[in-house]
């Protein structure tokens, strides 16, 4: 956990890629859930932020 937080603070690729991956997965789950339309409405925003973040952080140092 400490390594992960250090990675975030020092802008390391691994930690930030993890955050972006979680955001994308969360967005897709929100898009394909059968419970509430409101959650579906916010799904694209979450996926978009995750995807753009993934593209950016994949250029961070290891």
């Amino acid at each position: 956990m400490t390594d992960f937080l250090n990675g975030l603070l020092r802008l390391r690729r691994g930690a930030w890629e993890m955050v972006a991956t979680v955001l994308i997965a969360l967005g897709v789950l929100m898009m394909m859930q059968p419970f509430a339309l409101v959650i579906f409405s916010y799904s694209f925003g979450v996926t978009l932020i995750g995807t753009v973040a993934f593209v950016i952080v994949s250029h961070f140092p290891e």
Partner: protein, 316 residues
């Protein structure tokens, strides 16, 4: 008298200059010369339409009214798509289709590959027979499965009736709201399991026999060999098959249109079918463009994390 050639011969010094100039190019420049046509083509047929679609998604443009004034609507199309119950239902239908087709194709495909990999008589013949459905056109497959699913004359209903004892004409696979989503899953699984099987077979055949021999020497059981040698070494191939099938099934169109046309109601209306109706039946071009951009970002995001996971597995 001087002789003048009809076609002037190129000056050898000029030739040499050209050759010299060509050989003077750096490897990087030569690489760029070879790659440039591909990049130009990629920009023309992939990147330009993508940018154009993003532009259209921010307008109220309709293709059937090309001369009507186009109004800039900002993110309104995105808001409309993301608050549309029909789009939400299409996403749910796509999620059901995607999950179950991948589940069955991986399970059956890997099992078949494992069995085919064992040496037995007629091995090649069986491989050819199993691979046949994959070679057919989706339109043909959709058409003959429509006949197989017919409640009165369809062989599928008689097959089910034979094993369960229920009346074959008492149910319709493509006419029943609860059965239609499973009908398209069955057909896609039937058609594309051989593809997963072939990729898994390539993975299984790439495992060196010496590893199993070493495991035998260490008295590892068959079960242990399967979980510690076979599965980890086939995993990258399996993940590649899931990636290919996942992307293909996310945009599945032809097979389902031929089979159910998106019905009954909208139970099998996958996102691509819904998108096509918005774009080319209702002519909501701006709205459909926003819808397409949403699907693109979703697939792109999923594919990015999947490729990352694939690279991690390969590096192990």
């Amino acid at each position: 008298m001087t002789f003048e050639p009809r076609h002037p011969v190129a000056d050898p010094s000029q030739k040499q200059t050209f050759r010299h100039r060509l050989s003077g190019l750096s490897d990087r420049t030569i690489a760029w010369i070879f790659v440039a046509p591909s990049i130009a083509l990629l920009l023309a047929i992939n990147i330009f339409p993508l940018i154009w679609t993003i532009r259209l998604s921010l307008t109220n443009f309709r293709t059937n009214r090309p001369y009507a004034p186009v109004k800039w609507v900002g993110l309104q199309n995105y808001r409309d798509v993301l608050s549309d119950v029909g789009v939400w239902h299409s996403m749910l239908a796509t999620a059901h289709f995607l999950f179950w087709t991948l589940f069955f194709q991986v399970l059956i495909g890997f099992t078949l590959a494992y069995l085919i990999n064992k040496k037995f008589r007629g091995n090649d013949l069986w491989t050819t027979i199993i691979v046949l459905p994959m070679m057919l056109s989706p339109a043909v497959v959709g058409n003959f499965w429509t006949f197989l699913y017919q409640p009165q004359i369809g062989l599928f209903n008689y097959f089910i009736a034979f094993f369960t004892g229920i009346d074959p004409s008492s149910f319709s696979m493509i006419g029943d709201v609860s059965l239609a989503p499973w009908a398209i899953v069955i057909v896609d699984t039937w058609m594309w399991t051989p593809f997963v099987m072939l990729i898994c077979l390539a993975g299984l055949r790439a495992i060196p026999e010496s590893i199993y021999e070493a495991a035998e020497c260490d008295r590892a059981s068959r079960w242990r060999q399967f979980w510690t040698i076979t599965i980890p070494m086939v995993l990258p191939f399996l993940m590649l098959a899931v990636l290919f099938r996942g992307i293909e099934n996310f945009k599945m169109f032809d097979l389902v249109v031929q089979l159910t046309g998106g019905g009954p109601g909208d139970t099998t209306q996958l996102t691509s079918i819904n998108l096509k109706r918005e774009a080319f039946e209702k002519w909501h071009t701006g709205y459909a463009s926003a819808y397409a951009v949403i699907l693109f970002v979703t697939v792109f995001g999923l594919a990015s994390i999947y490729v990352k996971a694939l690279n991690k597995v390969k590096d192990r």
